[in-house]
Structures are given as C-alpha cells and as structure tokens.
C-alpha cells in the first residue's frame, strides 16, 4: 500500500487540463458539432416524471462514441435521473416514467422490442456509493459473466484477470481473489465495481459520481482509469466536481433545473461558455 501511495502522490495529474496546457485551442462551438457516425447515444426531447412531478424537460443531447461526456450541474438538476434513464435503471422506481427517445446506435432504449436485461448488459453502470456484493472479489467480477451463462473456469479466470487489470486493481488483489470484496478499501471497492462492469464487455459505461465518496488519491486513480478506458468505451460521467469534469471529459453538458443549459466541448464550457448561467456555475459564482 505504501508503495502505491508514494507513486500516487508524486504522479502528475492523470489528464492535465488540456485547455490550460494549451494543447488545443478552444474551438468555436459550431465546429464542435458531431458527425453522424460518431454518435453513440442520441437523446431527443426526453422528459422524465416522478409521479406528476416533471424533473427533466425536453433533454436533447448527442453523446459521441469512445469519448468521455461529463454531466455537471447543481444538486437536484436531473443529472442522475438522466444518466439512470440511459440504462433504464429508473424502471425500478414505481411511478417514474420517461417520455421521448433515447437511441443507442439508433435503437430506441424505451422501444417495445428493447429487452431491458440485454440493454443493461450493453450499458454498464458504476454508482456513487460503491456496491460490491457480499461475495469474494472473484465472484463479484464473475457475477455478470455467470448470469450470462459462462461456466468455463479458464475463460472466467481469464476475463477476471483482464477486467481487474483494466480497472488497475489486479496487482492489489491478485493474491486474495477469494477474499471478501467488503474487506477492500473504499477506492478499491469502487475500482472493483468498475472491473465488474467491464467484465461483461459493455459498449457504454455510465458513472454516477463515481469518485464523490473517495479521497483525493483514490479519486485520481479513478480519473486516470476513465482516461484510459475511453479508448474502448463510451463514457458518461456525472460529477459535482468541476475540476474533475475539466480533467477527464471531452464534452460537457451543464444541467440546470431539469434542462440542458449548454452542451459543448469541455474546453468551450469552461473557457468560453455562451450562456451566462454556465459561466456563473463553472466559475463558482453559484451552485
């Protein structure tokens, strides 16, 4: 633990704020429009209701493939509700319903021919509070594979090692794969949950404030991980931490009172926002 601690402290920020480093010049917003082929998730006029309370108002967003898209905004603005709509996690809440379309690769998430179980296998999710099952580390990562019907021990071992390696946890746990997952530290538990989500090989990874309960060192590990994962996965991350959004994301959507106020390249949102409200929020004048 001590060795990883020192490497962590001395290491540079996982993804330096690119706009500050001047690698890229902030593009004007028009140039940031997405080509049709890059779009992974396309949201059109999406409303969401808890009972009679409307919490999302006509959300329209196009989320690019293999990029990190951050959702920021004050508490209660609907970010979590929105992200949970993408894999229909809100289905388990009674009296909650969505209206409008969310397309993943052109297929309607809420369409009649979409099987929610299959959808959730394609769209992994990591929660704010790490939620490892009270099982061994191995069984946690194997869970999604086993419900998919995989029984072959060698195949399982293989994918589990690969997933834990991807989640930067393998070296910390390889000698105690059969110990309880609940004995891991908070940051390790969260990385285990990421490994568990990666094991079933999703196309999209939804992260609902994945680092908000973690200390700065664990947080930077998660951020580093996100940065590495985006080569292969489409990542949508909700965060309260604006530095985090700036560090890890390619595009940022600013939510406010259930609406998307502004959605653009992260550089633009932080350096050159069009809306006064966005500027006030990202500069910390409210929120």
């Amino acid at each position: 633990m001590t060795s990883s601690l020192t490497t962590d402290v001395t290491r540079e920020s996982p993804s330096p704020p690119r706009f500050l480093a001047g690698e890229k010049v902030a593009k004007p917003d028009e140039g940031a429009a997405l080509a049709q082929s890059e779009i992974k998730i396309s949201v059109r006029d999406f409303d969401f209701f808890y009972g009679t309370a409307k919490v999302l108002h006509g959300i329209s967003l196009e989320i690019p493939a293999r990029k990190v898209t951050a959702l920021i905004g004050p508490s209660g603005c609907g970010k979590s509700t929105f992200i949970r709509s993408i894999n229909r996690m809100n289905d388990i809440i009674t009296d909650a319903r969505g209206k409008g379309t969310i397309l993943i690769d052109g297929q309607d998430v809420y369409g009649g021919d979409t099987d929610v179980v299959e959808l959730r296998r394609r769209v992994g999710m990591v929660f704010q509070k790490s939620n490892p099952f009270p099982k061994s580390i191995y069984d946690n990562v194997a869970y999604g594979l086993r419900i998919g019907g995989m029984r072959n021990k060698r195949q399982l071992d293989d994918i589990i090692e690969r997933s834990l390696t991807r989640a930067a946890l393998w070296h910390e746990v390889k000698d105690r794969l059969h110990a309880s997952a609940l004995a891991l530290s908070g940051g390790q538990q969260q990385r285990l949950c990421i490994a568990r989500a990666l094991a079933v090989d999703p196309e999209i990874l939804l992260m609902d404030e994945p680092a908000s309960a973690l200390d700065p060192i664990a947080t930077s590990k998660i951020e580093e991980l996100i940065y590495e994962l985006k080569d292969n996965y489409t990542i949508v991350i909700v965060t309260h931490n604006m530095q985090q959004a700036a560090r890890v994301s390619d595009r940022t959507a600013f939510f406010m009172l259930g609406r998307v106020v502004e959605y653009a390249e992260t550089n633009t949102i932080f350096m050159n926002p069009k809306e006064k409200m966005t500027e006030d929020y990202v500069t910390g004048r409210f929120g």
Binding site: N87, M89, I92, T94, V117, E118, R120, R121, G124, M125, F127, K129, N131, P132, F133, P134, K135, Y143, G144, I147, G148, A179, S180, L182, A183, C193, R196, A197, V200
Partner: protein, 283 residues
Amino acid sequence: MTANLRRRKIYSGLFETLCALAVVVALIPLAMILFYVVKEGFGALNVDFFTHMPKPVGESGGGMANAIAGTLILICIAAAFAVPVGCLCGIHLSEYPGTKFSSIVRFAADVLNGVPSIVVGIFAYGILVLPVKRFSVIAGGVALGLLMIPIVVRTTEELLRLVPGGLREGALALGATRGRAVFSVIVPAALPGILTGILVALARVAGETAPLLFTAFNNRFWSTSLTQPIASLTVQVFTYAISPYDDWHRQAWAGAFLLVMMILALSILARLAVRRLERMNRS
C-alpha cells in the same frame, strides 16, 4: 453545578436505576426456572433416559428414547413445511411491499402469529386427523409448521428490506433479471439473519405441547411411521408430570431439562451460524 444541571443528573440517575431494576425483575423468574429445571432434571438424567423406552407403571427405570426421536422428527417436518413457504412468502413481501395483496398477507401473518397454539392444533386436527380418523406425525408436523410460518415470514421480510438498495441496482445494472438479483445477491446478503429467524422459530415450536395433543397425540412405543401417532418430549413431560408416580415425575423433570438444553443448543447454533456467515461476508 447549577441547580438545573443537578436536577437533570438526578433524573437521569433515577431512570438508569429503574431500567437496571426492570432487568433484574425480568431475569429473576428466568434464572429460577433454569435453576429448578437443572436441579431436578439433571439428576434424573442418565444414559437409559436416552436409549430406553418408557416402562409400564410400577416398573422403575426406562427412558424417553421414542419421545426424543419423535420431537426431532416433528420439528424436521415442521421446518420442511414452514421454511420454504415462509421464506418465499417473506421474499414476496419484501419485493412487492406496497401492494394490497402484500398488506393483506402481512396482516394475516401477524394475526396467525397471535393465534393461540391450541387453536392451530384444533385446525390441524380438523383437516388432517378427522378425515382419516387417525392421529399422525404429519398432522403434528403441520401444526408446528403453521406456528413457524408467521415468524419466518416476518423475519425474512424485515431482513431482506435491510439489504442496501445499491446491491439490487448493482445486480440489475449488470444485466441480472429481477429474480436473479433477488436470489443471487439480496437473499445471500440477508442469509445470516434469515437463518437465525428460522432457528428461533424452530426453538419456539420445539417447546409446544398444546398443538400436539390432538395431532401427533402420544405413543408409548417406538414409531417412525409418518401416518401413526408419535411421542414427543413435551407431551411426554405433560403426561408424566400430571401422573401420581414419583418415578414419572423424575422423568418429567429430565424431559424438561432436555428440552431446555435442546432449545439452548438451537440458539447457540443460530449464533454460531450467523457469526460464521457474517465473517464470510466481511473479511
């Protein structure tokens, strides 16, 4: 120290003393029961008591081998009947907590929990003894099972509801169906507690006499047939205790002592099982 603070401290001390006193009052009868049962029963216990059959009146010696076996058989049947029904029912209640059906079932379970055990015995007599005109192990086991069900239902439901919602979301987010999430994640997480509930319910019905009087009845002979009457420790203790013979009285004490020990053993087993399972969950 101001007068106000002094007054508050006096009140606090007063209530703490009252609480401690209440604990002592509650413990005295318990300690006395245990003391008498051990004092009278331990001396009367010997190897013959476990291995021998009851002797006819007048002959001394003999034991309760048939009643010990009978009680074990009866609680096994009760558990075989009540555990699956009770657990599945508890799962339903925790999965669909808000429906009208659930609130009816919950209310029914609470009512059943309060029904005097002799009434349950009469019910089992009515449906399982009268039609075949014979007392049977089955009838006794079902009567005990009916007494177990509400306890198992309610403990299962309550413990399942204590499982953090995040675990369910985690399982669903990985593509688990609802049933899969329940049986592979939520139930295992609550298992130690559910197991305790089952063992507590077993201990409770192992000590029942009334529902057995007109279901399993009694039997002075060795029997393991499920369709025949069978002896049980509780009924045997009852029969011997109201008899006029000193030798039978001694055996009744021994039976009572054995019952208390069995229930103690079940409770200890419950604790050990919980500790073991929880250790598996934690570290």
